[in-house]
């Protein structure tokens, strides 16, 4: 007999948190869940989960894998290895590659290269050709390849009319969600950090909070007009989250995500002019960080997404104003969530995993992911040691890039094993391929 026996962990999924059980996995599926399984477990490889949480694999709605075009920063191979080490069994690859993911042939090639990766790779297709914000990309052709999320991420769809048409057109594509990088380019372009006390002091041109809220307000109106589900990427400001909270109260089909750096870091981090802290939307004020935490706690936020954005070291050795925006996230998101949100009591472990796994799985239409950890379900699991203390060391990350803003930060909670479609892709914190 082959298979995997995940032994002695506490299952946490959408039905809550339970006591220690064994989970038997065979042929890519969960065969049995129960206390001290015997009998059919003979021959199965044992993955020790004593003291651990056994959860559905994490799902990242927002990963920049950089392939094709920027393989010096990341590849599908290195990015998915980082994802697996971070507990992810599925990632949504963002379309701002070179060439962009705006036509079927490019999307198909990324999907083909991702097919053998240690975590499932799905693609977010571009909304417009060349992500130029003018003509619609072939959304139907991309949808036929399995694309469900459409976004020009990296850039914002500036024209209200184009955004309206994208939302309208998507109505004919079952399960399609149109996602926006909400920063009004006319307000944000030329800015490199949050506009406020720090930008004014440092003399770095700013990106005002209003740039985000302006687009969020507009796109909520357009979602209402068209009836298409809207997803708002990496929201970072109190005002934008207030708008989403109110829209949800009205019953609008809107979801939103936040990134770990927006609930753990503020614009004060830019004081030393280190471009590792440059990201779009930018690190905001302490009040915004508080607002993001509040919105996570009250259910306004649907997902924690990494916005994993690798850049080659030399790209971040430029002046702050010249360096590209973005920071790594896949290998730190879970630990930051546990350390900064669960430990202080902002979220329960169930709520945290909901935001990292089954709620994003639902947004992305990934039925095989997000649990529950139940007999017959595909075996996409992550086993977390919630007490494990570790320190972020950029040189030890699996990502090809090194641009984590958390170098030296001490975190609690780490992935011990990751199981993807029945295969142990991470065992005892080591990637197996």
């Amino acid at each position: 007999m082959s298979g995997l026996l995940v032994r002695g962990g506490r299952v946490v999924d959408q039905s809550g948190a339970g006591g220690p059980v064994d989970v038997l996995v065979r042929d890519g599926h969960i065969l049995e869940v129960g206390a001290r399984l015997t009998g059919p477990t003979a021959g199965a490889t044992v993955l020790d989960a004593d003291g651990c949480v056994v959860a559905p694999g994490l799902v990242d709605l927002h990963t920049h894998l950089r392939e094709p075009g920027n393989e010096d920063a990341e590849t599908i191979e290195t990015g998915t290895r980082a994802a697996a080490l971070g507990g992810y069994t599925a990632v949504v690859a963002m379309p701002n590659t070179d060439p962009p993911l705006d036509e079927a042939a490019v999307v198909a090639s990324v999907l083909a290269r991702g097919a053998t990766a240690p975590c499932e790779v799905v693609v977010a297709g571009a909304i417009t050709k060349g992500r130029a914000g003018v003509e619609l990309a072939p959304m139907g052709e991309l949808h036929a390849l399995g694309v469900r999320l459409f976004t020009d991420d990296g850039g914002c769809v500036e024209s209200a009319a184009v955004m309206r048409h994208a939302l309208e057109y998507a109505r004919s594509l079952p399960g399609a969600v149109v996602a926006q990088h909400a920063e009004d380019p006319t307000l944000a372009t030329g800015g490199h950090m949050h506009e406020g006390a720090w930008s004014s002091r440092l003399g770095i041109p700013g990106r005002p909070a209003a740039a985000e809220a302006v687009i969020v307000a507009r796109d909520l109106m357009l979602a209402e007009l068209t009836g298409t589900p809207l997803h708002l990427l990496h929201l970072s400001t109190a005002s934008a989250l207030d708008l989403v909270r109110a829209a949800k109260a009205r019953g609008l089909a809107v979801t939103c995500e936040v990134a770990p750096h927006h609930f753990t870091l503020t614009d004060a981090a830019c004081e030393g002019f280190d471009p590792v802290f440059k990201v779009h939307p930018p690190l905001r004020t302490a009040a915004d960080v508080e607002a993001v935490r509040r919105a996570l706690a009250d259910g306004t936020v649907d997902a924690i997404a990494t916005d994993h954005a690798p850049h080659a070291p030399e790209a971040k050795e430029r002046p702050f104003e010249d360096a590209p925006p973005g920071m790594l996230g896949l290998e730190t998101a879970l630990a930051l969530t546990l350390t900064e949100l669960v430990e202080p009591g902002v979220l329960t472990i169930v709520e945290a995993l909901a935001l990292l796994s089954w709620r994003p799985a639902r947004i992305a239409g990934l039925g095989d992911h997000g649990g529950p950890v139940a007999v017959g379900r595909p075996a996409n699991l992550c086993v977390i040691d919630p007490a494990r203390r570790w320190e972020v060391d950029p040189t030890r990350l699996a990502s090809r890039a090194r641009n984590t803003p958390y170098a030296g930060r001490k975190l609690t909670g780490r992935v011990r094993h990751t199981v993807r479609a029945g295969e142990a892709v991470v065992v005892d914190g080591s990637a197996q391929r």
């Binding site: 506009e195 406020g196 006390a197 930008s199 004014s200 002091r201 440092l202 003399g203 770095i204 041109p205 700013g206 005002p208 030393g272 002019f273 280190d274 030399e314 050795e317 430029r318 002046p319 702050f320 104003e321 010249d322």
Partner: protein
């Protein structure tokens, strides 16, 4: 006087503090005296090499630093980004490390991006001097302005001095360094500009603001005019140069409302007839030429403070 450089770099006014500013101004007085000698040259930095690394055109600041270095008998290296390895795609880090590898003891950095000298300071062992970084800081300009004011006012105390800074503070490194330095020395600073040219936030700034120059000018001891960049009009930050001059230019008529001993300053290069009338720039209230003269002495003081040892010869 002996060198007691608190840090190995000069990147911002804030890091100098009041004591650092006082010490550098004291040293500058010594070099003002040296510069009046028949042969204004000292062997103080013989054997040292000062490199100027300018990624942005600035003939006057570069010449001022190079003159200062030469008067202290340092060797100089000049690096202009134009037509250099930078235009071939070399990174800031590689450029700085290359210059250090050629033996530079100090690197004087000018860059259009804020913080570039801070980054260079992290990458090299050499001393780094900020000669202007984006909108951020221009510390030696602030020091030479303070030295000029000391001379004109005949006092070392700026306590309660009413200083009015007029113009594009939002985009000005001169203003950021100047306001910080003046506030550290006890001056009361007022910023005057249309709201579109004031900083987006004044949190942490020791100053007040107004958009009405005529309201504050009669009570002003020092009026500091900033250069108006015409591209700000194209960016929609003010309607026209004519309207700017009408509301914020130090015209002859407006200057007539100043106290008789009000000092007029400008960091140059001036737009005569826009932010300042030619008659005012050349008039008795103006110390604009002295600012330039003092620049060399201040930069000698900074170089010696950071690189020198023993006593000033």
């Amino acid at each position: 006087m002996s060198s007691a450089a608190a840090g190995r770099h000069l990147l911002s006014i804030a890091e100098l503090g009041r004591d650092g500013i006082d010490e550098l101004l004291g040293l500058s007085e010594t070099f003002v005296e040296v510069n009046r000698r028949e042969i204004p040259k000292l062997p103080a930095l013989r054997g040292k090499t000062v490199a100027t690394l300018f990624f942005e055109d600035s003939t006057r600041t570069r010449l001022s630093f190079e003159t200062a270095a030469k008067r202290l008998s340092a060797d100089t290296m000049t690096f202009n980004a134009e037509g250099s390895s930078v235009s071939k795609g070399e990174s800031l880090r590689d450029t700085a490390q290359t210059i250090e590898a050629m033996g530079a003891d100090a690197i004087v950095v000018r860059h259009r991006a804020a913080g570039a000298p801070h980054q260079v300071a992290r990458w090299v062992d050499a001393t780094v001097i900020n000669a202007g970084d984006g909108r951020h800081e221009h510390p030696t300009q602030a020091l030479l302005d303070l030295l000029t004011l000391r001379h004109r006012l005949g006092t070392r105390s700026f306590d309660g001095l009413a200083v009015t800074v007029v113009g594009d503070v939002r985009h000005s490194r001169v203003a950021r360094s100047g306001v910080a330095a003046l506030a550290l020395l006890g001056a009361r600073v007022t910023l005057v500009a249309p709201p579109t040219l004031l900083p987006e936030s004044l949190d942490g700034w020791s100053c007040v603001t107004t958009s009405d120059l005529d309201d504050v000018l009669p009570e002003t001891d020092v009026v500091y005019l900033l250069r108006l960049q015409r591209e700000r009009q194209a960016a929609g930050l003010f309607p026209s140069v004519r309207e700017y001059t009408t509301r914020y230019g130090l015209t002859v008529e407006r200057a007539a409302n100043m106290k008789p001993d009000t000092v007029v300053m400008h960091p140059g290069p001036m737009n005569r007839g826009i932010e300042i009338a030619a008659e005012v720039a050349d008039g008795p209230a103006s110390v604009i030429t002295e600012q330039v003269t003092n620049g060399v002495a201040v930069r000698m003081a900074v170089l010696w403070w950071l690189l020198g040892s023993g006593t000033v010869p």
